[in-house]
């Protein structure tokens, strides 16, 4: 049986590995535009010159040989549902028995001024983007980053490490608005500022002014302020990469639509990762790849770990983790704990954690993801809830694996 996988990132690679683990004799073909397998979560380290192309590769050495995966560097331009084949940019047709769409997403460049056309504007989604940024940054000193989400801050980090003058423009009134609360965001803002970054917060891009060669050399904000720049990195979000599915019969909304087993409306066509558009994070993409692979191999498994409200960052020696949501709903209890090294904030509703933010010390933090995801009651476990750990739920199975004992807690 031939499995064709479109895409070579988290979902695609994990699916290929799982199919091989399950099916010694299957044929696996992976089609990707990328020249190199790479982890997009490390692109900022490429820009900062902390890592080279090889250093971005997250697969083991000789992955394609040992796993016997045929790699085709090309672009899929359409999927022929009836013929059960995909068509490449080069015109070649690749038949499949099972198809996994793991084509990921692409940067969204807002249609403001000349952002979409100017040659000195770039997204930061994959290795080719990073390579473009790296090249352009050779001759650029003033760099504008639009968007202060994780990707924007990654870009700012990489460029600051290169000694560039970095200006970050963000619509929200604070940086990392989705990932952090105001307090923890300010810690990063000050750290970035101390390293030379300039922030324009609570402002929008209104228009662009082009100079030589159609390059944007200045932008104008809604406040009337001007920012001069040599190049622009747009980090204003991504959209699932689904253009090639037009007329393929595969249904898509914002992303490809799938059932619980990650199969699309078309039999034998599955989708996983960012292309399904609801949980744009690495671990979920990996798990989706595994579930899709199992179903492609005839098993019947559901993808259940849909929890995606999780963020982790590590900039300049400050680590922060944010799980769930810390709202200030009236029925939520919010507790904080803070000292010169650590900031912790948790919100609890009906004894269950709805969100937690840990800055400075994230040891043992994984327990919180489990407690939030599974809505475990944490009442009466520890006087200081921040001291809760897996030890409070400790139990072992016969094979020595851990399991969760919360009945004991409830009974006490």
């Amino acid at each position: 049986m031939r499995h064709v996988i479109i895409g070579s990132s988290a979902a695609g690679i994990s699916a290929a590995r799982e199919i091989r683990r399950l099916r010694e004799d299957a044929e696996i073909i992976m089609i990707s535009r990328d020249g190199h397998v790479h982890s997009r979560c490390m692109l900022h380290k490429y820009i900062s010159h902390e890592r080279d192309v090889k250093g971005l590769d997250f697969t083991e050495d000789n992955f394609f040989e040992t796993q016997r995966v045929e790699y085709i560097q090309n672009e899929v331009i359409s999927v022929q549902e009836k013929e059960k084949c995909v068509v490449l940019r080069t015109g070649e047709e690749i038949p499949y028995d099972r198809l996994l769409i793991a084509s990921g997403a692409q940067s969204f460049i807002p249609p403001v001024g000349d952002l979409r056309t100017a040659p000195n504007v770039c997204g930061m989604r994959d290795l080719s983007d990073a390579q473009t940024i790296d090249r352009m940054a050779e001759s650029a000193d003033n760099i504008l980053v639009i968007g202060a989400g994780l990707v924007g801050m990654d870009a700012a980090y990489g460029l600051l490490q290169r000694g560039k003058r970095v200006t970050v423009l963000e619509m929200s009134h604070r940086i990392l608005p989705v990932q952090l609360d105001a307090h923890s965001a300010e810690v990063y803002q000050r750290e970035f500022e101390s390293r030379g970054a300039i922030f324009y917060l609570g402002r929008r891009l209104e228009k662009t002014i082009c100079g030589v060669g159609g390059q944007i050399c200045r932008v104008v904000l809604d406040t009337g302020e001007n920012i001069d720049c040599d190049m622009i990195i747009v980090a204003a979000g991504v959209r699932p990469a689904i253009d090639f599915l037009d007329n393929s019969g595969v249904e898509a909304g914002r992303g490809v639509l799938v059932d619980a087993g990650l199969q699309t409306n078309v039999k034998d066509i599955y989708a996983a990762g960012d292309v399904i558009g609801h949980s744009a994070i690495w671990p979920n993409a990996v798990k989706q790849g595994i579930v899709a692979a199992r179903n492609m191999c005839g098993m019947s498994e559901k993808y259940t770990d849909t929890f995606n409200e999780k963020n982790m960052m590590n900039f300049f020696g400050i680590v922060t983790l944010y799980l769930g949501q810390i709202c200030t709903r009236r029925d939520e209890v919010v507790m904080t704990e803070e000292d010169r090294n650590v900031y912790r904030r948790i919100s609890i509703r009906d004894g269950k954690v709805t969100g937690i933010l840990l800055q400075g010390d994230i040891s043992n933090a994984g327990v919180w993801q489990y407690l939030i995801k599974n809505q475990i009651d944490i009442s009466n476990i520890k006087e200081n809830v921040f001291q809760i750990s897996y030890a409070d739920f400790f139990s072992v199975k016969a094979d020595g694996e851990y399991r969760w004992n919360y009945q004991r807690q409830a009974a006490e």
């Binding site: 982890s39 979560c41 595994i290 590590n314 994230i362 040891s363 020595g400």
Partner: protein, 149 residues
Amino acid sequence: MRRIMIDYEKCDGCKNCSIACMQAHREDEGTIYDLNLTDPRNESRNQILRVKDGTYRPLFCRHCKEPECVMTCMSGALRKDPETGLVTYDETRCAACFMCVMHCPYGTIKPSHSLQKVIKCDFCAEDGYEPNCVKSCPKKAIHVEEVEA
């Protein structure tokens, strides 16, 4: 695969296992007598935690069947070794993103003090896969057993 089995009721909280782990993984040479107990680089991979009733829970990496840490590793530093069943860690690949820390529900993987890497059980591979924590436990609260991988 072989796994460190835990009989928590026997644990007396002496932390001998923690010191043994620190000694086994110290960067400099030396004996247990000169192990610097205050150098944060000498971190233990296991932890002994006290719960409400005053008893102890020794937490050791399970090298899980479906390890969350491996599934969430975006650099390829963490892998499940198909031969030994162990979850191995390649420090040179690690990008210190700490996704593994966020995902291990048991807290058995943590950022190093330097925040440059993570601290995780390697089953004392360099000592022939005979964990030093197990050897050091005076109460035999931990032992190694062959289990279904």
